[in-house]
C-alpha cells in the first residue's frame, strides 16, 4: 500500500532543467492541490490513527511510520470543508518539513506535474488575506487551476495563524478561496 517516491530520480531530472520543478497533485473532493515533490517522502494508504487528546479537529491523530510517531492532519478539515471519512482509497502523503515529518490525509493523489517557474502565478490579494499564506502560488494545468500549498504554513504547530476556516465557511472570501482551486 506504500508507494515510495523516487526522490533522487526526480531531483536529478529537475536539476538538469533549473527552471522547472516537480509537484505532486492531490485532490480533496473536486479540488486539486499540489505540493513540491521534494518535500514528499512517501505516500501511504490510510491506516487508523490514534487520536490525541485536546488536539485541533484537523489533527486526526498519530500513526506509526516504521517506528516513528507521525501526526496526520486532515487537509479537508484544515480547509474548513468538513471531516474526511477515510476509506480504502484515501491516502496519506508523508511530508518532510525541515526536521519534522507529518502526514496529510487527502482523497487521492492524482499526478506528478512538471511546472516551469514562470508558469506559477501569484495568489491574488495575498496580503489582504492571511489565509492565503499557505499557498505558494497558483498554476493552470489543462485549464484547471491548482493551488500549490506550503504544508509548513498549514500544519506547523508553532507558526500557523489561527485561522478558523470552518467557522467562516459561509464567508464568501474563504469559500471562494477553496473553490478557486477548482475554477
Amino acid at each position: 500500500m506504500t508507494t515510495e517516491v523516487l526522490q533522487t530520480e526526480t531531483e536529478t531530472r529537475s536539476d538538469t532543467d533549473g527552471m522547472t520543478r516537480q509537484y505532486i497533485s492531490f485532490t480533496i473532493g473536486a479540488e486539486t492541490y499540489a505540493v513540491k515533490i521534494t518535500m514528499v517522502r512517501e505516500i501511504k494508504g490510510w491506516i487508523p490513527t490514534t487520536s490525541l487528546p485536546n488536539a485541533p479537529d484537523y489533527m486526526r491523530g498519530v500513526i506509526n511510520l516504521r517506528g516513528v510517531i507521525v501526526p496526520v492532519f486532515d487537509m479537508r478539515t484544515r480547509f474548513g470543508r468538513g471531516r474526511t471519512e477515510p476509506g480504502k482509497t484515501h491516502v496519506v502523503i508523508i511530508v518532510t518539513l525541515e526536521e519534522r515529518t507529518i502526514g496529510i490525509l487527502v482523497d487521492a493523489v492524482s499526478d506528478i506535474l512538471t511546472i516551469a517557474a514562470e508558469d506559477i502565478l501569484a495568489v491574488p490579494d495575498q496580503d489582504a488575506n492571511p489565509e492565503y499564506a499557505f499557498m505558494e502560488g497558483l498554476v493552470s494545468v489543462n485549464e484547471k487551476m491548482i493551488a500549490i500549498v506550503k504544508p509548513r504554513m498549514l500544519f506547523d504547530m508553532n507558526k500557523i495563524p489561527d485561522m478558523d476556516l470552518a467557522g467562516n465557511a459561509s464567508d464568501e472570501n474563504t469559500g471562494d478561496m477553496a473553490r478557486a482551486a477548482v475554477a
Binding site: 490525541l52 485536546n54 498519530v62 516504521r66 510517531i69
Partner: protein, 700 residues
C-alpha cells in the same frame, strides 16, 4: 566534521575530559592519603598528556600553565619535592584552573591573560622555595646533554631505538614529531625513516601511521629517560630500546653508516645488552589488553542500534500476540520458536541497553570541585566522600541527573552544613562530611546525598511555609510532611539570598526533573544529625514497564511503577462530592477518582467505576488517585517514543509507544494528569504547556 583538524581536536578534548577525571581522581586519592607512587605518576601523566595535545593545537595559555603544573608534579614524583598538604591545595586549585583552561580552549573562548596567574605563582613559589629550577624538562635535559658532551663523553652510551607505531596511533592524538624532538634533546640523534610500509597513494588512509623510525642516539641519559619520552605511546607502538654500550669514538658514529645501521657492531659495542626491562613489557601487555577490551563508538551509532532493537521488541510483541491465537497443537514448532525468539529479543535488548550504560562516575566527578568551590565561597569546611561511582546507568539518565545533583550538593553545603564555629559548638568536627553514593536495587538506581549537618529545621520550614501561604496556619503536619514542604514550589529556607542559592529555583524543580526521569526523591532528616536525600531512578529512559489499559476505543499505557492496585469498587465504596467528583474508599482513606475519559476526551468510555475498573496510582508527593478505565489489557515492556519529535507536547501524555498490533498508544503522564485533574476538567486552549517551564529552568 569535514575539517580533519576539527576531528582531531574533538578527540583531543574527549581525551582531555577523561584525563581530567583521572587527574582529579588521583588528586582525591592524594588528598585522602591512600596513594602510592603510581598515583603521582598518573597525575603527572594526565597533565603531561594534556600539555602535549594542547601544544599540538597551539593552545598557548593552556600549555604554559600545564607546563608549570607538570614541572611541579615531576619534581614531586621524582622525590625532589616532598608532598605537603599545602602543596596539595595548590595542586587542587591548579586542577580547577586547568579544567577551566581546557573548557575555554574547547569553546574557543579567550580567557584573561592573567587567568590562573595566582595559582601559577603559587606553584612557581613552591618550586623556587625548594630550589628546583623551573625549566622545561626538555631544556633541562638539553642543557644536560649540551654541557655534558665534552667532559663526560665517556659516560655517553649509544642507544639503538626502534619505534614502530601501530596503525591507529594517530587516532589517540599522538604525534611522533614531538617525541622525536624530545628525543633529540637528550643528545645527538640519528634518524632513519623506514617507509617500506607506506602503501600506494590510493590505498593510503590519512589517519593511519605507516612509518617506522629507527634511531641511534648518543646520550648521557639512561634507558629510563628514553622510555619516559615514549611513555604516552606505550601500548600504541612497538618500542625496542637497546643499549649498545658506552660510546667510544665520534668517528664510529659516522663510519657505521656503511656498515648498515642496525647490525650489531662489535667495534662500537663493548657489551651489547638488551635493556628493555621486564616491568615495561608487563605494562605494555596490560595496556594492550585494555585497548582490545573496549572501543569508542559514536553515540549516534549506538542510538541507531537501540532504536532498531526497540523496533524488534515491538515486532516481537506483535508476533507473540498473534502467536497466542495459533493453535499450539497445529504449529507446535512455530509457537515454540516465537517463545524462544521473545527470550532472545529480551536478552538482546538488555545487552544493547548495557552498551549505553555508563558509570555514574561521569556525573559524580564534577562534584568534588563543586564542593571545593562552595566551601571556599561560603567559608565552610566540607569533605565529599563518594561511593558506588562505578554503578552503571543509561547515558540519558547520567546526562540529566547532573543538574539536580549539583543543586542538592549545593544545598547540602549551603543549608545543610553549619559553619565551622557552629559545628565546633555542637561538638562536631569542624569539617562537615557529605556522602554521595550510588547503588543498584531492584532494577533501579539509588543515589543518596547525606550530610552530617544540622538537619532540616522543621520549625523554620513550617513557619516559612505558613508565611508563604503554602500550608494553612493551623494545619497539623507530621515530620515527614514538614520535610516534604521543601519540595513545594516557591519554597526557600535560605534566610538571605546568597551567591550560592536562593535565586528562586528550588527543590521543587529538582523534584520535577527527577520525576521527569521517572524517578522519586525522599528526605530523611534528623535534627542535629544531618539530612539524607534519596533518589530512586530508572536505569533507562528508553524502555519502561507499562500497563496497557482500555478506555473506550483507545488504549493507553500507565507506568507500572506508579500502579498500586486495580480493583472493581462496590457502589457503596464510591461517594460523590457536590462538584461532581467521585471519591473512593481505599485502604481506609478517600482517594479521588480521575475520569481519564474526560481528560482525554475519549468517546464511548465506561464512566461508572463499578462497571469498569479503578486503577489506583501513586502520583506526585505520594498522593493516591484512582483512574477509571474500561479494562486492563496486559502488562508489557514498552519502548518510549517521542511525540514532540514530529508534533508537539500533549498535555497529560508523556510520550507514545507502539503496541504489538502496530498501532500507537499514548503513555499517560501521571503527574501531569494529577495537576490537570485538580483543576477544571474542561481544558482551555490557552492552558500553559508544562514542558516549557520544565526544560527551560536552569539551575543557578
Amino acid at each position: 566534521m569535514s575539517d580533519p583538524m576539527e576531528q582531531f581536536k574533538a578527540i583531543f578534548f574527549e581525551e582531555c575530559a577523561e584525563l581530567l577525571i583521572s587527574l582529579e581522581e588521583g588528586l582525591m586519592q592524594l588528598q585522602a592519603g591512600d596513594s602510592d607512587v603510581e598515583t603521582l605518576h598518573s597525575v603527572f601523566r594526565a597533565v603531561h598528556s594534556i600539555k602535549g595535545g594542547a601544544g599540538t593545537f597551539g593552545f598557548a595559555q593552556l600549555v604554559s600553565f600545564a607546563h608549570i603544573q607538570e614541572t611541579l608534579l615531576d619534581d614531586m614524583r621524582a622525590g625532589a619535592l616532598e608532598m605537603e598538604p599545602a602543596y596539595l591545595d595548590v595542586l587542587l586549585k591548579a586542577f580547577d584552573v586547568l579544567t577551566e583552561l581546557v573548557g575555554a580552549a574547547q569553546q574557543g573562548i579567550v580567557l584573561d591573560e592573567n587567568y590562573g596567574a595566582e595559582v601559577a605563582r603559587a606553584m612557581t613559589d613552591i618550586l623556587k622555595h625548594t630550589g628546583v629550577p623551573l625549566s622545561g624538562e626538555e631544556d633541562h635535559a638539553a642543557a644536560q646533554a649540551d654541557s655534558g658532551l665534552g667532559e663526560v663523553a665517556a659516560k655517553e652510551h649509544l642507544f639503538q631505538i626502534l619505534f614502530k607505531p601501530f596503525p591507529d596511533m594517530f587516532q589517540r592524538a599522538n604525534e611522533p614529531l614531538l617525541l622525536i624532538r624530545e628525543l633529540a634533546c637528550l643528545g645527538r640523534l640519528e634518524t632513519i625513516l623506514d617507509q617500506t610500509a607506506l602503501p600506494d597513494l590510493e590505498d593510503m588512509k590519512a589517519e593511519q601511521a605507516y612509518f617506522i623510525w629507527r634511531f641511534r642516539l648518543v646520550t648521557s641519559a639512561n634507558v629510563a629517560d628514553i622510555e619516559e619520552i615514549f611513555e604516552f605511546v606505550e601500548g600504541d607502538c612497538d618500542l625496542d630500546i637497546t643499549d649498545l654500550g658506552p660510546y667510544l669514538s665520534p668517528d664510529a658514529f659516522v663510519a657505521d653508516d656503511a656498515a648498515g645501521l642496525f647490525e650489531p657492531e662489535d667495534t662500537l659495542v663493548a657489551s651489547s645488552q638488551k635493556t628493555t626491562r621486564p616491568k615495561d613489557t608487563k605494562v605494555r601487555a596490560r595496556s594492550e589488553e585494555v585497548v582490545s577490551k573496549s572501543i569508542r563508538v559514536e553515540l549516534d551509532k549506538v542510538d541507531r542500534l537501540v532504536n532498531m532493537v526497540g523496533e524488534l521488541v515491538i515486532t516481537q510483541a506483535m508476533l507473540q500476540e498473534q502467536g497466542g491465537q495459533i493453535l499450539v497443537e497445529q504449529y507446535p514448532n512455530l509457537v515454540q520458536g516465537i517463545d524462544e525468539m521473545s527470550r532472545h529479543v529480551r536478552e538482546l535488548q538488555d545487552s544493547v541497553m548495557a552498551i549505553r550504560a555508563q558509570p555514574v562516575k561521569s556525573v559524580f566527578s564534577r562534584m568534588p570541585r563543586l564542593v571545593r568551590e562552595l566551601t571556599g565561597a561560603l567559608d565552610k569546611k566540607a569533605r565529599l566522600v563518594m561511593s558506588g561511582e562505578e554503578t552503571e546507568v543509561d547515558k540519558t539518565v547520567t546526562e540529566r541527573i547532573g543538574d539536580p545533583l549539583m543543586h542538592m550538593i549545593r544545598n547540602s553545603v549551603d543549608h545543610g552544613l553549619e559553619s565551622p564555629e557552629e559545628r565546633r559548638a555542637a561538638g562536631k568536627d569542624e569539617e562537615g562530611v557529605i556522602h554521595l553514593s550510588a547503588f543498584h536495587r531492584g532494577g533501579r538506581i539509588f543515589i543518596e546525598i547525606a550530610d552530617d549537618g544540622a538537619g532540616i529545621n522543621q520549625d523554620v520550614v513550617l513557619r516559612k511555609a505558613i508565611e508563604r501561604g503554602l500550608v494553612h496556619s493551623d494545619a497539623i503536619l507530621n515530620d515527614d510532611e514538614i520535610n516534604n514542604l521543601i519540595f513545594m514550589p516557591g519554597f526557600s529556607t535560605a534566610e538571605a539570598v546568597t551567591n550560592v542559592s536562593g535565586r528562586g529555583v528550588g527543590m521543587d524543580v529538582v523534584r520535577k526533573n527527577i520525576q521527569g526521569l521517572g524517578g522519586r526523591i525522599s528526605i530523611d532528616s534528623t535534627p542535629g544529625k544531618g539530612s539524607k536525600f534519596s533518589m530512586s531512578l530508572p536505569l533507562t529512559l528508553a524502555v519502561m514497564d507499562g500497563m496497557v489499559v482500555e478506555i473506550g476505543r483507545e488504549k493507553y499505557v500507565l507506568p507500572l511503577a506508579n500502579i498500586i492496585q486495580s480493583l472493581r469498587p462496590e457502589p457503596d465504596e464510591i461517594s460523590a462530592l457536590p462538584d461532581g467528583r467521585n471519591l473512593m474508599m481505599f485502604r481506609g482513606d478517600y482517594i479521588s477518582l480521575v475520569p481519564l475519559y474526560d481528560i482525554f476526551k475519549v468517546q464511548d468510555a465506561q464512566r461508572d467505576p463499578c462497571n469498569g475498573l479503578v486503577v489506583v496510582v501513586e502520583g506526585e508527593g505520594g498522593v493516591l488517585m484512582g483512574f477509571i478505565v474500561d479494562d486492563l489489557v496486559n502488562q508489557q515492556q514498552v519502548v518510549i517514543k517521542s511525540l514532540e519529535e514530529n508534533y508537539e507536547l500533549v498535555e497529560g501524555v508523556s510520550g507514545a509507544t507502539i503496541l504489538g498490533n502496530g498501532l500507537v498508544s499514548l503513555i499517560v503522564d501521571i503527574a501531569a494528569v494529577q495537576s490537570l485533574s485538580s483543576g477544571p476538567y474542561e481544558l482551555s486552549e490557552t492552558s500553559p504547556r508544562p514542558s516549557e517551564s520544565k526544560t527551560e529552568v536552569r539551575y543557578q
